[in-house]
Symmetry: C2
Subunit: 382 residues, 2 copies
């Protein structure tokens, strides 16, 4: 049993979310991640709520399993340590504004010359090139400028953001993919590559449907609430005690839905094909809700699921964490403290691999500079 | 100049979005992707609108650069071809319901025995294990059951889905990461692995903030509209002609914002720290909008940006596609037709790599079974 990236060392200069999320996946896949933080306060997320016993649960959820050393890259003595770490690292991750690391003498060109095998992964708001390369960005800005907000929410009302931080996370995941591809590549060539990922680019890359609609029809789509833009019935509906979703994606499923609801409209020309159902989607929704308002969400989800019609409760996070399927998949793990006791929770690794242990616990999120001694000893042994 | 996955062959049995999105990234990174489709109608998305000259722009946006052969895995002659393809492939991707490929004799155990170096990537609604493994899922269901819908939308109103298909795409991206890690790993061991990714698991994995809040406070978060749950001011605001976002993440940026708006509240104890601003967020929003309603979005975004305060228009997809930063990053590419003419548009590759050409065009989305001859000749040469 082994993890695919065991034996690799990732030197992680990133902070907040996009970069640390990438480093987290690399750690879950077996790499040793050394988080290099600025002295004093370290990664900003150490100060993000919620707190438990004075420690951030947010920081723990995404920085468990990593080691920390605090280094000031403007100080000679710390640079000397960083140079030694660079020489031993397989991957460097950074999310500074483009130009910052170059001015410190640790830009791609300098590092590649000193360590040609190193994979150099950069994530930033807008990328290393282009007119806005040096601007800062945040998840909110990426979702707004990148088009995700324009298709999220209810028609006719103000824009809303996707509640998951997709602006940061899509970029973090593309960085991970680029780094892994570069690691594969260097085994053949002996040479590392620079990976350059932009939060803005990443938003467009995950909007394939909106891109297709806009470029073919000439008209950009807007938000559609909970409704799928081109399949019906495929949205949320009201039950007696709240909302649930039905995803009846074809005529067969729609017929089964009509049977379960005792709503004899399967052959009605206004609803007999998907195209017709989409045309008459508001009437269809009101007809369905006329029935579903009479019973609970649990009632309808059970009956529809039993009949083979995809349906689901709209689960809040406490429900998700207790979902039997999530538990069976080991998707909620314990982040230990330094005494080996469960201190925080984190998501499990969604990449399940054969011949790899899928652990139920994670090593602690590090104290700021908490692994300095261990790291310096490792350098000395090297 | 080279792409990291050049020389690799991916045999792609997936259809619709999660799997094809993974295969798309592998193609953009240089792999040759052979899409094995069912005879007759092929991938369902060939029938998804919007259409141009009878072809789906949706299918083109996510299936460009791939080759297609139509095979019925229940027919002897087609299985013989598939077996020969398997023997030459580096990666197999599939998104059937767990059990389907096993019954056809192409499950992980069978395939691994015949081709121990093959990387076998599976994505499904719920994963290969657990009580719901054999249930179908869709993006809508994953977003609902996985918690994303519970944190998206406006407080007090019905749930909405994230407008990007994050239910499918997060899973597709985790599949890509698992496949790439397995490819790296097999160069050391000579052995492939099975990668098992679930749409439901992937939703929880991207909800790090909601998970931390729920597990530390005991209370699951709800939707917050466009507002960041723990930083203020960090949301959308109304201008004279629509909404825009401001992301003033700390006290320094808030002071600059107050100067630009001529709103002398930076030292007001109700707004002097982030915690205070979060407490008084609704009052703060109304004060800011009292000013911003007087001028256009473009006016405010320009002034705030010039002052160093992150702000952005909420761009619709047509605006995104014309964004100068997006253009500078080559993020809108032409999908050619068989005559080499630009037929459709697709997102560029957001993974920018050194020493790799970042092309402005893509090879066509294949006709169903359109590359049979070429593929069979390749097998014969093998």
């Amino acid at each position: 049993m082994s993890l695919p990236l065991s034996g690799l060392t990732v030197l992680d200069l990133t902070h907040v979310l996009a970069g640390p999320f990438c480093a987290l996946t690399l750690a879950d896949l077996g790499a040793r991640v050394i988080k290099v933080e600025r002295p004093g306060s370290g990664d900003d997320t150490r100060a993000f709520p919620p707190f438990k016993d004075g420690k951030s649960g947010y920081f723990a959820a995404i920085n468990h399993s990593k080691k920390s050393i605090a280094l000031d890259l403007k100080k000679e003595a710390d640079r000397a340590i960083f140079d030694r770490l660079l020489a031993r690292a397989d991957v460097l991750l950074e999310n500074f504004r483009p130009g910052v690391l170059d001015r410190l003498g640790y830009g791609w060109t300098d590092v590649h010359a000193a360590n040609p095998a190193l994979v150099y992964g950069s994530v930033s708001g807008y990328g290393q090139t282009g007119p806005d390369a040096r601007r800062p960005a945040y998840d909110m800005i990426a979702q707004a400028r990148g088009g995700v907000m324009s298709v999220t929410g209810e028609p006719g009302r103000g824009p809303v953001r996707a509640g998951a931080s997709v602006g940061d996370i899509a970029a973090g995941m593309y960085l991970t993919q680029g780094v892994l591809a570069a690691l594969y590549d260097r085994q053949r060539t002996g040479l590392g590559r620079r990976v350059d990922v932009s939060m803005l680019d990443s938003q467009l890359a995950i909007l394939e449907h909106a891109l297709a609609i806009t470029t073919v029809t000439g008209k950009a789509p807007g938000p559609t609430g909970s409704r799928h833009p081109s399949i019906a019935p495929f949205e949320s509906f009201q039950a007696s005690d709240g909302f649930f979703v039905i995803a009846a994606g074809n005529d067969v499923l729609f017929e089964k839905l009509c049977l379960v609801l005792d709503l004899p409209v399967a052959d009605d020309p206004r609803f007999a094909t998907n195209a017709a159902r989409v045309t008459n989607v508001r009437l269809l929704k009101r007809l369905i809700e006329a029935v579903t308002l009479d019973q609970t969400r649990a009632h309808w989800v059970a009956k529809l699921t039993a009949a083979g019609v995809p349906a689901s409760q709209i689960q809040s996070l406490d429900q998700v964490l207790k979902d039997p399927q999530i538990a069976a998949r080991n998707m909620v793990v314990d982040v230990l403290d330094r005494n080996g006791r469960a201190a925080f929770k984190a998501a499990g690794n969604p990449i399940k691999l054969s011949d790899a242990e899928d652990r139920t616990t994670r090593a602690p999120a590090p104290e700021l500079d908490g692994n300095r001694g261990e790291i310096l000893r490792w350098l000395d042994e090297g």
